[in-house]
């Protein structure tokens, strides 16, 4: 078990199994918001599902409409429970901020760790996110 501390982009608490990628991720064209399945055929996570997971990716990319896709993921109940990045750009952060406003759902987002977050967590690890940006990682057995 290890503990990391990051900068709170969108606050809230969450826990779940991690899904991790070293590649940047764009939500439009990246994920089907009615299922949570990754549809980007250029992406290494193609075919995986982010629903209910702690989604770990280095930074956002691609279309600026991504926040609307995140909002639809929240509306359909197919969103990840939290997102951890090295750098959360405004497009991703916006999805979390608006989800709270419109659907009163927490979608915590943490960035700015003093390490490369995608190297610290492996897919399948159990991750707990606290209100203050603390991330507790229990390695998959």
């Amino acid at each position: 078990m290890k503990e990391l501390k990051g900068h709170v982009v969108v606050n809230g608490t969450a826990e779940g199994n991690a899904i991790v990628t070293g590649q940047p991720f764009g939500f439009f064209g990246g994920v089907d918001p009615t299922t949570g399945i990754i549809m980007d055929t250029w992406h290494e996570l193609h075919g995986e599902n982010i629903k209910g997971k702690v989604f770990v990716f280095p930074e956002g990319m691609g279309s600026t409409v991504g926040a609307a896709i995140i909002l639809e993921l929240v509306r359909t109940g197919c969103a990840p429970v939290a997102m951890l990045n090295n750098k959360t750009e405004i497009i991703t952060a916006a999805g979390g901020v608006i989800a709270k406003k419109f659907y009163d759902k927490d979608l915590p987002m943490i960035d700015g760790f003093d390490c490369n977050i995608v190297d610290e967590i492996k897919t399948g690890d159990y991750v707990k996110i606290l209100e203050d940006g603390t991330v507790i990682i229990t390695e998959k057995e």
């Binding site: 439009f28 064209g29 055929t41 691609g62 279309s63 926040a67 909002l71 497009i91 916006a94 901020v97």
Partner: protein, 413 residues
């Protein structure tokens, strides 16, 4: 974040519910991203534009902000519509989809959007100047505005952009600040001649993959690239990566020299791009092996009048093959000009359909069951496999037109 007394009054609800809501969102987002204050912006370009990418959540969000009384206080333009604005039924738009699109259109119109539905607002009626602070979404337009115009915008976000249009301000962060506009990676373009037309989007596609969100400085661009060339380069780099600013030495207003572009930064990486690298990325951009194609799609980003003229000239009176469907996507400005010049009639006589103010990526194209798209767009190449559910063939404009005439893929390289 430090707020002025005017901003605090808005936050307090003194100027109504919509402005209060918009200010709350801007403050929240600004604080999330460590912005110190809000700064005035001169124009906004929205991406909450198509039901296909807004979904129900996006439509409901726009309606709720419009109902609160949200009104834009700075010139606000918008991305392409989610369906053909001249004849959505002929474009096989499902009735349920059209209903949601019309709800979205009504909501943004109520807030006062300038209704030229396009990803290229800089072609005519929303052209930012050097050093001007603007707040645009639409990744390709952001990249063009920073790189070609020397204006300043971050890659803003859907819905947040509506709030920026209502308040006329944006959180001061990222590319609004001098220190964040410095070059980070040196790209040595070792081609030794002006790039061919297809090489611009191919270079963009390659740089998007290599740079991610880092700022590249391109040294060695020869000749005089057209606005259309630069548009296709910027769009591809913003789709395959998240490039918001490229310093093209000699072209980008802030990059008169390599030293200018780096402003004291040491390049963290140097990437050499040779002719064979462009040929290799071109191969990667084709997901289709055979020679058969059923759809040729041009206009991502929207075609300019000059590009429409070029297609007419390449066709030179020939008709496209009966087995191929060919569409050109353009905004109402370019379409109007093409009508006055007789170009639209010539293109339609050749069998090409002009699709108004929408595009292949954000309209329900899968209704047509096309198997393979051929395009000259690096941006479309990135999105088509997911959003159109097709294979993709990337080629030059000339090869796209020749293939449409022949009825099968015709490549020069």
């Amino acid at each position: 974040m430090e707020l002025t007394s005017e901003e605090l009054a808005i936050l307090n609800g003194d100027e109504g519910k919509a402005r209060q809501f918009a200010m709350e969102i801007l403050v929240k987002v600004g604080e999330s991203c460590n912005a110190k204050r809000l700064i005035p912006i001169d124009s906004v370009h929205l991406v909450l534009h198509a039901y296909k990418s807004a979904f129900t959540a996006g439509v409901e969000a726009a309606e709720r902000i419009a109902e609160m009384g949200g009104r834009f206080t700075v010139p606000t333009t918008i991305d392409p519509c989610g369906m053909d604005t001249e004849d959505w039924r002929a474009a096989r738009t499902p009735e349920d989809y059209a209903k949601m699109q019309i709800r979205l259109n009504n909501a943004v119109m109520k807030m006062g959007v300038i209704p030229v539905w396009t990803c290229t607002p800089y072609y005519g009626f929303n052209l930012p100047r050097f050093g001007e602070n603007i707040a645009w979404s639409e990744s390709s337009a952001v990249s063009f505005a920073n790189t070609v115009c020397g204006a300043r915008t971050n890659r803003q976000s859907a819905i947040i952009d509506i709030c920026m249009g209502i308040i006329g301000k944006a959180p001061e962060m990222g590319l609004y600040l001098d220190e964040n506009r410095k070059g980070e990676v040196l790209i040595q373009l070792n081609v030794g001649r002006p790039l061919k037309q297809w090489e611009y989007p191919a270079l963009g596609f390659l740089l998007g993959k290599k740079l991610g969100s880092r700022i590249g400085v391109i040294d060695g661009m020869k000749g005089s690239p057209s606005q259309d060339n630069l548009k296709s380069l910027c769009a591809a780099a913003a789709a395959s990566g998240s490039v918001a600013l490229l310093h093209i030495v000699g072209i980008t207003p802030e990059a008169r020299s390599v030293e200018d572009a780096f402003s004291g930064n040491i390049p963290e990486e140097t990437i050499s791009v040779r002719e064979e690298d462009l040929l290799n990325i071109r191969k990667e951009m084709n997901t289709h092996e055979g020679e058969e194609i059923d759809f040729v799609a041009l206009g991502c980003p929207h075609y300019s009048i000059n590009e429409m003229i070029r297609v007419r000239d390449i066709l030179n009176g020939r008709k496209i093959h009966e087995s191929v469907t060919m569409w050109i996507f353009a905004n109402s400005y370019a379409i109007k000009l093409s009508e006055e010049m007789g170009i639209r009639e010539e293109l339609e006589k050749a069998g090409i359909i002009i699709r108004a103010e929408t595009c292949m990526i954000i309209s329900p194209l899968s209704e047509w069951g096309f198997k393979t798209i051929m395009t000259d767009s690096g941006k479309c190449t990135h999105y088509a496999p997911m959003e159109c559910k097709t294979d993709i063939v990337f080629a030059s404009t000339e090869e796209c037109v020749e293939s449409a005439v022949a009825g099968h893929v015709v490549m020069e390289v």
